[in-house]
Symmetry: C2
Subunit: 334 residues, 2 copies
């Protein structure tokens, strides 16, 4: 029996129930993981509250986990019991949700955890760096590029700034209030713009000497998109990966056309669904994690039994970086 988080209806954090379930032996191609740590993501709160995908109830939940391989199913040669492994994101949460002491997961969506990385850091890595890997794979970020990151204190925002720094680019963080500015500076922001106090497009133009930023990594969309478009340099790109301010973006075409700008809608699933891209992503991120160029910023950890409280905190927007849930289950690595 393993403690497993499920929910039986949409609702607030209180719908997340800790249930004792028997976890089956892994099927062909699957691995059973003793979970040590679980990374939380905003999309999971949206899933829980009915603003993402509708599952059949009761449903599991969760995209990220790190732990120790307990058993492998038929045909699995890439992992053996005792291996430290982390789950990539992007599978059906209903079927492969990661909030639990034991989970089944397809072997080809697990990655080996570098020796220097803790379970907590491994559980905090894949969704954020996998999403921010768009800067490399989609936008081809280069040294000297100005990159604007909105919702900069989110885990993905910080991951984007770290990848920017790893590539020699210059990160401009956009955040609501000045209170998070020091934490953002120490997380990799070369400049911080406070949207509550400053005109964001004007501030971007000031920082970039009037040229505009060559790329924007945007989680916000909504009405602010028009201003962002006006602050992008010719041939620049806006990667839209979230819509905290609403699902509709008004795009002014003259600016988009005259400056040959790209607005790219982005969901990181595309990086795990194709084996070649997945291999590039895993190689890049594991190399940078091992070298220390990427270092997950963990805001706070919770015990699995306090999952509802963890979700409440996730939705408070008080955090800078990642929220991780830990378990006491599973054998220790050999």
């Amino acid at each position: 029996m393993a403690k497993t988080v499920r929910f039986h209806s949409f609702g607030g954090p209180e719908v997340l129930l800790l249930e004792d379930l028997d976890i089956a032996e892994p099927a062909a191609g699957e691995v059973r993981l003793a979970v040590k740590a679980i990374g939380l993501n905003r999309v999971e709160a949206m899933f829980r509250s009915g603003h993402f995908i509708s599952p059949a109830f009761p449903s599991r939940i969760g995209y990220e986990a790190a732990g120790v391989v307990e058993a492998v199913g038929p045909g699995v040669s890439s992992f053996a019991p005792g291996d430290r492994a982390a789950a990539l994101f992007g599978l059906s949460m209903e079927r492969y949700g990661t909030y639990g002491e034991q989970i089944l997961y397809p072997a080809d969506r697990l990655v080996r955890i570098p020796e220097t990385l803790s379970f907590v850091d491994a559980a905090a890595s894949w969704m954020q760096y996998g999403t921010a890997f768009a800067l490399v794979e989609v936008a081809n970020v280069r040294a000297g590029d100005f990159l604007v990151v909105t919702a900069a204190s989110s885990s993905v925002g910080i991951a984007a700034m770290q990848i920017a720094n790893a590539e020699g680019a210059i990160a401009i963080a956009v955040t609501r209030s000045r209170s998070k500015a020091p934490a953002l500076r120490s997380s990799g922001a070369a400049h911080v713009i406070c949207s509550a106090e400053q005109n964001v497009p004007d501030a971007i133009r000031d920082i970039t000497g009037g040229h505009g930023a060559i790329m924007v990594f945007d989680a916000v969309a909504g009405a602010g998109m028009a201003g962002l478009v006006a602050a992008v340099a010719p041939a620049g790109i806006i990667i839209a990966y979230g819509m905290l301010a609403g699902a509709t973006a008004e795009v002014l075409l003259p600016a988009l056309m005259q400056n040959n700008l790209t607005l790219r809608g982005f969901a990181a699933n595309i990086f795990v669904e194709r084996a070649d891209v997945r291999a590039r992503m895993v190689d890049y991120i594991n190399r940078k994690l091992s070298s220390g160029a990427l270092r997950p910023i963990v805001d706070r950890t919770f015990e699995l039994s306090r999952i509802a409280e963890a979700h409440r905190y996730l939705e408070s927007n008080a955090q800078v970086g990642k929220i991780v849930v830990t378990t006491t289950a599973g054998q220790l690595p050999p």
Copy 2:
């Protein structure tokens, strides 16, 4: 003295005046061309009527011309008197407008005319194929791709369908009324959707077996953009190069994000401003013109003295393909 079209204020076709001007000797890097044919473009009607860029008056006008080199300025070795040459687009019309019997033009923005091509066809080629070259350079069109072309009976629309066919792609033409369907089919459309009678996104899904089109070449924008986005296949691209239905596009981000779609604003100037891209474009188009894979569709020609009438026809939307103005000036090629 050379007949030259200028306008002294914004207005209807009647503001285009035929004036006798002395054309100077070419300056360093310039060529003087005896113009034989001039291609007309919709943007020139917008320029004339004050909906594009504001020039100092009186202003020249025109982006395209083909003719014979009369004289070359200091430092020009790429052309000699007697050479057949065509003007690329993208320079200031105020300074380098092409409507006239003689024009000065920078040598590096002139291209040699393939032997098999008439002056009329050469004057009808560069703006339309240069714009549609975005399918190759930006969207990487491939055999079997479904390409949706809006405003399909425009010269650029037809050019896009020809390039699609040259690459083995399948062109889906969107046009307002059924009356132009036969002409579009003979110009390269594999399918024709009549927007006055059909739901365009539904028709695109039908034609593509439910998958959607991998690329859209759109001159319309406005409210129809939302429907187009919903009819694009995963990882597809919409190239927005015109805004006949308005400057604001409403973009629904869930479709854009979940399907990893790209909305690319596009102005063809980017292809002539960079020497490396310009060379690729000129090479591609001249090769395809020489082989006959690209063949300009000329709807009608007018004498230069009837330039106002030609502009009136340009704005009538009755044409399928290019309107070309001819002159009787200039020496014949040797």
